[in-house]
């Protein structure tokens, strides 16, 4: 097919931005009943990256996606695509395609006709439509199903048709609105791998919306964590997990212990009197986050360890979870890899000492 007619995929240019949202506000309703689904959100999504918007339902992630797709217009702010203002461009004029949560396949068309739809609407010549459709069906491994009606397909197959249909017109950005939520666990794992492969092969920028933190961590190049209409933190999965900036991010992704103390020279003083080494920049009350797997359990008389009491233990197979209480009564969870023989079996009531892994303590903004 002719390469000239295809603006995308531009082979990933890491420097350039695919999507840029500037101070985007989206309000529903008016006056008293006004709800801000998005409240001053700014985000930069780079070309060729797999970007995930992660957050609980109602956090505004889907609204942001719909603004990028053009189904909704923002109340305020600007959205740029490839540096061009597309804020008020109708969806059929944007080189952006969506994989809908419900797939939204056309029931009156066959699999191949569904995939060809976007190309036909773009006015591509018939030969090119046919060729691209066949290539897309091969890409999602559905060549054998081309003449079937979509209602005759399984959920996973419908998902692939939706993907092929959205990828066929070679969008600059592919938007995926919780596309895996309707699939069972096994299929979901398969599709996660599949999506990564497709993104790699096509080089198209993916913006993926999910509420599943594990999905976000395993698939994304970068994650934007959203809550209450605001972008809380943007970073790589590792950054998000190990360096959460606030309480919301720390608790939404993985399990976390929160400890409150006060700023002291050299770190944070806990109510129990223990001093935790941490880089604190401001005085007053400070919240610390420590992942359970970074809590080390030692003997009660271990020098420098904080005294604690075992409250309970839960066996998870690969690891053990211990509920511990510090001297001041505050609770803390520790996760320990359970050995082959379970040599560290602690009983409730036992006195132990705990210590945090070096560099594992994160000082939160709130």
């Amino acid at each position: 097919m002719s390469q000239s007619a295809s603006p995308a995929p531009t082979p990933a240019e890491p420097g350039r931005l695919a999507i840029e949202a500037r101070n985007v506000v989206k309000a529903f309703g008016q006056g008293e009943g006004e709800v801000r689904a998005l409240n001053d959100v700014s985000v930069e999504i780079r070309q060729g990256e797999f970007f995930t918007l992660l957050g609980p339902s109602g956090c505004g992630k889907t609204t942001l996606l719909r603004l990028i797709a053009g189904f909704e217009m923002p109340t305020d702010g600007t959205i740029l695509l490839d540096g061009q203002d597309i804020t008020y461009l109708p969806p059929n004029k944007r080189p952006v395609n969506t994989v809908f949560q419900s797939y939204a396949l056309f029931p009156h068309l066959t699999v191949a006709q569904n995939v060809a739809f976007g190309l036909q609407m773009q006015g591509k010549p018939a030969a090119e439509v046919k060729e691209t459709t066949a290539r897309m069906l091969a890409l999602v491994k559905l060549d054998a199903m081309a003449t079937r009606k979509t209602s005759q397909l399984s959920g996973g197959q419908q998902q692939r048709v939706a993907l092929a249909r959205a990828l066929a017109p070679k969008p600059k950005v592919l938007l995926l609105d919780e596309p895996l939520s309707a699939l069972d666990l096994k299929l979901r794992k398969e599709m996660q791998v599949e999506l990564k492969r497709l993104q790699h092969e096509t080089g198209i920028t993916f913006i993926f919306v999910t509420h599943d933190q594990e999905e976000a961590l395993t698939m994304s190049d970068r994650i934007g964590v959203m809550s209450a209409g605001k972008l809380q933190q943007v970073g790589t999965p590792r950054e998000i997990y190990t360096r959460p900036v606030n309480r919301f991010v720390a608790s939404f992704i993985g399990d976390t212990n929160f400890l409150t103390g006060s700023s002291a020279p050299g770190g944070v003083r806990l109510p129990s009197g223990a001093l935790i080494e941490a880089a604190v920049t401001r005085p007053g009350a400070v919240t610390l986050a420590v992942r359970p797997e970074h809590v080390r359990i030692e003997a009660a008389d271990s020098p420098g360890a904080m005294p604690a009491t075992v409250k309970g233990a839960v066996y998870f197979g690969t690891d053990m979870n211990y509920q511990l209480a510090l001297a001041d009564g505050s609770e803390i969870e520790a996760c320990v890899v359970s050995g082959v023989t379970g040599e560290m079996a602690l009983n409730p009531g036992e006195k132990v000492g705990i210590r945090f892994a070096p560099g594992a303590v994160q000082v939160l903004e709130d």
Partner: protein
């Protein structure tokens, strides 16, 4: 299957027949019976003062297309009959088209209201059914006549100086037919649009379709069963309509329905009336078969 199960199955089938017997008997007696009588009558001789005389004759059927010249008894093509037939078909097609054009946005509007409002709108659509057809037709007469509502308003507003002569002609019949048959188009369309997944609209726009393309390539093909049902419900009765053309056409615009009625009344030619009725039935059935086949074939090929 065990013998007991077999007996159980047989009993279920017998009960099903027994329960549907009243409806089947009624349908046979009330629908097939009269049709059979009409069919038989169409092959009989016409009586002197209406009615029929027993004796086989094809005069009734011949009379559909040919008429006996009163001077020399030769058969000439009855072009008046064909004119009437063509006028009826034209009116029915036009009525079907305009009820679709008017009914589709109406049905779309109703189907996209919140559920509570939807029930109210549907209720409003069915209000005309509460009144007898004849009375409704006279109501249209009242609206359209020289001293009627439309003229009064237009005169008052100064849009026109002389009352418009709208009544007793093709226009009045057309307005009346559209009004009478509109609900029959709206209801099946509503049922189809109500089932339509509105998320497909976004999918269409997302894939570069304009509003018109979404309508043509997504909405219309999917709600096609509703369009087919509505068209049949409007086309068939309007082909046989005779109250509306009579009251609003002032007798100047004879339709097939009026023509058939004439044969059983002043015409005193029951065999011709019967033959015309059967011919109309056959034409409608053939037209429907072609229409449905056509609609389905389009569907299969997308």
């Amino acid at each position: 299957m065990s013998p007991a199960e077999k007996a159980q199955g047989a009993r279920t089938i017998r009960n099903a027949w027994l329960l549907s017997a009243p409806a089947l008997i009624l349908l046979t007696v009330a629908a097939a019976g009269p049709l059979l009588i009409v069919l038989v009558y169409s092959f009989l001789l016409k009586g002197q003062y209406g009615n029929v005389e027993w004796g086989f004759s094809l005069d009734g059927w011949r009379g559909i297309l040919f008429t006996k010249d009163i001077f020399d008894d030769t058969m000439v093509l009855a072009d008046a009959h064909l004119t009437i037939f063509w006028r009826s078909v034209k009116l029915s097609i036009l009525t079907t088209l305009i009820t679709f054009v008017v009914g589709f946005p109406t049905a779309w509007f109703i189907a996209t209201r919140p559920p509570k409002a939807r029930a109210l709108w549907l209720f409003l659509i069915t209000i005309p059914f509460w009144t007898n057809l004849l009375i409704r037709t006279y109501a249209i007469n009242e609206v359209l006549r020289k001293e009627g509502l439309v003229n009064a308003v237009l005169l008052k507003l100064g849009v026109i100086e002389v009352p418009l002569d709208m009544l007793y002609g093709p226009f009045a019949i057309f307005v009346g037919m559209t009004y009478v048959y509109l609900p029959l188009m709206v209801l099946p369309l509503f049922a189809a649009i109500d089932r339509f997944d509105m998320r497909l609209l976004e999918a269409g726009y997302d894939l570069y379709a304009s509003r018109l393309q979404v309508l043509r390539r997504v909405i219309l093909p999917i709600v096609k069963p509703g369009i087919v049902a509505g068209s049949i419900l409007v086309f068939v009765p309007s082909l046989g309509a005779y109250v509306t053309p009579r009251v609003l056409g002032g007798g100047k615009q004879m339709m097939i329905g009026n023509f058939i009625e004439l044969q059983f009344g002043q015409g005193r030619n029951w065999p011709l009336g019967s033959a015309l009725s059967m011919a109309l039935l056959v034409v409608v059935m053939v037209a429907l078969l072609i229409y449905v086949r056509f609609a389905n074939r389009e569907n299969a090929h997308g």
